[in-house]
């Protein structure tokens, strides 16, 4: 990797940039969780692993009922020609009980899951560790693919695909540790608890794509994570950018614009503009896969409910939500609504037996006492709050009107497809209009 230091614009790198989004979110949920170290959640008696946990085709089951599977063993494989395919692995040593259908929390459709009866909690690397000095970059990419790594910041794109597209094209690798969701603090815990490994993962990714500059975007303040900051000081080509803690989606393209001053055209990939954004959790997963030979079978999440507060947990993928709730002493029946991942963008689940997938950074429980955000919906008063907060500079209210009329031309004119589902328009709407279904209908009408 070229070590030559190219200093990016000092001002841009170290200033606290102004984020889009006119309203500050209540970050109390997060504040409580920031200081809570990860607690390992033991696997459930029955683990349920979706065969599709990313944006791309479902993996094909490689096992049958009654098979014994090892921790880290591939249970869902992909075809040679499936560029966007991602394998899935067993999170435990155990026996395959069945392959059945279950409602997928993201698609809402019935999709295949593998149910594994846990035999023991033992973990050991499934693959041999790799030394980047001894293997080619393509072999490293192959390992990342084989380990089933996807973007853990919410985008869930196959990491190997993103890295290979960007290879030798980008000058900047931006690590998104911003974690702007109000209920999630697992990334900041990862930074403070597993800093060395994470930094190594970042360097491995930069090495693969040939990026000379690494920008670490965090919302933590100077001195908040002293050990991590000391470690980072040793890294001459990693710049730290401090961002305000407001929610503004952490959307990769906007982050690039804010840091590098480049707007990414709608039909252009960020790597064509010389920059690539990866989440901090993904960097850690890359480290685990390459240096320790462990596929992506566990991740950090933040559990939050009012009575318990924020708890950071290290969970195996496929752990049912109910098991996690029992672990933190928050019985599933106490809740009226449960959301996975970010409370701004993550899906609500209908059933606590639904498992954690690679996409989920959190579990949040709401009791009957907590108000349903859209229960008292009224009509739009055209206050324009939704326009003001939209980080993509859209007009959600005008989109809603055009969608209602079925006016496709107008929907195109309003560039509805630019919407990134950040949820800010619904969050601020005084009429309590939930835009998610309106915007999805509008996008599909286009």
């Amino acid at each position: 990797m070229a070590r030559k230091k190219k200093k990016i614009d000092e001002e841009r790198t170290h200033r606290k940039f102004k984020e889009k989004g006119g309203f500050e979110l209540d970050l109390r949920m997060k504040r409580e969780a920031i200081t809570d170290p990860f607690t390992e959640v033991p696997p459930a008696e029955e683990m349920t692993v979706f065969l599709r946990q990313h944006v791309g085709p479902e993996a094909k089951p490689l096992i049958q009922e009654g098979d014994f599977v090892e921790y880290g063993e591939k249970i869902g494989g992909i075809e040679e020609d499936e560029e966007w395919g991602v394998p899935v692995h067993s999170p435990v040593n155990g026996i395959v009980k069945e392959i059945k259908m279950m409602e997928h929390p993201v698609s809402g459709d019935e999709e295949r899951i593998v149910v594994i009866e846990t035999e023991d909690e033992e973990t050991k690397p499934y693959y041999d560790p790799l030394d980047p000095k001894d293997v080619t970059k393509d072999e490293l990419l192959e390992r990342i693919k084989e380990a089933g790594i996807v973007g853990l910041g919410g985008a869930i794109c196959p990491t190997n695909v993103k890295l290979s597209y960007a290879k030798d094209k980008v000058s900047h690798l931006i690590i998104n540790a911003k974690e702007s969701d109000p209920n999630i603090a697992c990334d900041v815990r990862l930074i403070s608890e597993r800093a060395e490994e994470m930094i190594d993962g970042i360097k491995l990714m930069a090495y693969i794509i040939g990026a000379d500059n690494i920008v670490f975007a965090t919302r933590t303040q100077e001195g908040e994570l002293p050990e991590f900051e000391n470690l980072l000081k040793r890294e001459k080509n990693i710049d730290i950018v401090r961002v305000r803690p407001n929610y503004s989606i952490g959307y990769g393209r906007l982050l690039i614009t804010e840091i590098l001053g480049k707007e990414i055209p709608q039909d252009t990939h960020s790597y064509d503009m010389g920059a690539l954004v990866h989440n901090v959790g993904t960097a850690y997963a890359v480290y685990k896969a390459i240096r320790e030979g462990e596929p992506l079978v566990s991740r950090g999440i933040t559990y939050y409910s009012k009575d318990i507060g924020g708890r950071n947990l290290w969970v195996r993928i496929g752990t049912p939500v109910k098991h996690i709730m029992d672990f933190v002493d928050a019985p599933a029946i106490d809740f009226e609504r449960v959301a996975l991942g970010s409370i701004m963008m993550g899906p609500a689940i209908s059933d606590p037996s639904i498992p954690i997938t690679k996409a989920d950074s959190g579990v949040t429980g709401f009791t009957e006492k907590e108000p349903h955000p859209y229960e008292d919906k009224t009509w739009c008063i055209r206050c324009g709050y939704c326009n003001e907060v939209c980080p993509m500079d859209l007009y959600p209210q005008l989109i809603m009107k055009a969608e209602k009329k079925g006016d496709k031309k107008r929907l195109r004119q309003l560039n509805t497809d630019v919407c990134i589902d950040c949820g800010l328009c619904s969050f601020v709407c005084p009429a309590r209009i939930n835009y998610r279904p309106i915007l999805s209908r509008a996008k599909s009408e286009m």
Binding site: P182, E263, I264, Q266, D272, R337, A339, T378, R382, N387
Partner: protein, 359 residues
Amino acid sequence: MLEEEKKARPYKVVNPPHVHIGLDKNELMLKTFLLMSIIAYASVMVMGLQALFHILVALGTVLVVYNSVTAYQRWKGVKPTYDSPGSPLVAGMIVGLAMPLESPYLVTVVVAFMTMFVFKYIQGKYLDHKYLNPVATSKSIVLLALYGVATLNVFEGALQGGMLFHPHHYQHNMMGGFADMMGFFESAFVDTIPFFGIEISATQAHFFWQPHGWIGSGMGIVVLVVGSIAVYWLRYKWRIVVSTLGTMTILAIVAALVWQNGDISTADMITMRIAFHVFSGSILFMAFFMATEPQSTPMPEFSQFLFGVGLAVLTFVFQLNGFLGGSIIALVIMNMTTPLLDRIVIKKPYGHRVKSVVD
């Protein structure tokens, strides 16, 4: 609920986001009402009990309409249009503050009734949103009706009786004779600030203590401060306020430079013009609390600026022609342009402001 039932119960599935900022329509209305109450308090101090009665009459009328319609809707098994009196109260307060002090109470009742029943309930029911500002439209209709009655000689003195605008304003030359008009205003309405005994000029009266005109204009400075707080705190469409008041200020300065008076310095003339053209209730109060009415004003940012500029220019033209309460008609005219303004100058979203690098 039985424990077993509870266990079997699936969770309520709600689309994200799963939280709300907490500021809803009712709270927005309540906060607006509270802020306007400060202006009302200041105006009553300046204008006395007559102002208070106008406000109470307007509030009472909208509440009677609101309670009657809500009771009817409940009786019919229909969900009430307004689940709290917040929005009606705001409308009532605007009616009260937008009435000239000298107007008969009956006119206030008529305007408040039309505002609430015709332009809030009926307009809201039959159109997809309120295209016209309820208070401005009601006031304009009453004004035009009185004008019609007066010009057809059906009832002489209808305009004076209605007092929605003052026919004697026609006598003033608002161009070259502006200073004389201010002199007349000073001699007729301005004296000293009670309690403090400070003697003030017509110009100062527009800023601090104006016992004449729209009730909402009693203390111009209070309207400015409270209005600015409302814009910042409740995020009103600030572009409309800025462009309306900004354009009025520019036009006032231009007018001061064009129609000079040998006895008065240019600086004094400019101050006088700004005091009159910007700090009259029909401008200042309207710019903050009527022109920003969300439903009847445009959504795109640049269109909001155009709206404000158009409103100011029309109002200024009316003012120059002696039609001093004409700002509400200007507002209704601008409301009519909103559907068009909603369609033009849509700003480009992220990703569309730069050229594609894909071949």
